[in-house]
Amino acid sequence: MNTIFYIAAAVALISTGMAISGRNAIHALLSLIISLLSVSIIFFILGAPFIAALEVIIYAGAVMVLFIFVIMMLNVGMEREMESRWLRPRMWIVPSVLSLILLIDFLYMLRTMAHPETPGQTISPKQVGVSLYTTYLLGVEIAGILLLAGIVGAYHLGRQRKKVIHRFLKKEEIIEPDKTEQ
């Protein structure tokens, strides 16, 4: 088990370093996803399977998809020569090796977890849920209000406002996002 922890920790550190030092945002996001997967394996080892699942679903799923949506919407214009670079192995060999290490790690752990040495350590999702909805019920409601505020704020900030300028005062053409890209 300790070896699995160290391997996953090393993969997490390497891929996080690649995530913050990458030049392309999408590649950095893929490295960040590998980092989140290895952190999820560490959570699983530490006896928190529910949190490990949440890490994969919410962080590596929902939040990273949000990032990718925004990067694609911004379309910063580096996709021209990108297609020829996809085929070069240097671009994808390191993330592939890292995720392969994680996969082997995970499969080995699943084999050994069938006979855990100390079964009392794991905190089950039921315990978490009971504690969440009894002791921390107020926190759940506050988190709900926070998420509602997040929805309203994201909608309000992300809306494309049509700039209203009187036609006699208008000096220049309003820059449309589509026209400048072409």
Partner: protein, 104 residues
């Protein structure tokens, strides 16, 4: 299950937090800065999980769920701000936003 001492586990979380902090300070692209904030949130949540696993209590995992909610809110609002910034200034560089700064 794991016989690694808590110090090493927390050291790992601190290293992750440090990488996120360095990324936040070094990178000027706002998308990378937001990703670094994500890394730091993740490392902070990991400390909760480690402590909860060490004491065998569920409170650490409950706190991680709250951190998850805060992170989701922060990311959605932050990405909407990035969209607005790109539409107004046509750049993703945080240093370009110096309209209030004196030119000297």
């Amino acid at each position: 299950m794991v016989t690694i001492s808590v110090e090493i586990q927390i050291l790992f979380a601190a290293l992750l937090f440090l990488i996120g902090l360095v990324g936040l300070l070094v990178r000027r692209n706002v998308i990378f800065m937001l990703m670094s904030v994500e890394i730091m949130f993740n490392a902070a949540g990991m400390v909760f999980i480690i402590a909860g696993a060490h004491w065998g209590q569920v409170d650490g995992q409950v706190m991680f769920i709250f951190i998850l909610a805060v992170t989701a809110t922060e990311v959605s609002v932050g990405l909407a701000l990035i969209l607005q910034m790109f539409h107004h200034f046509r750049t993703l560089d945080a240093d370009e936003l110096n309209k209030l700064k004196d030119d000297n």
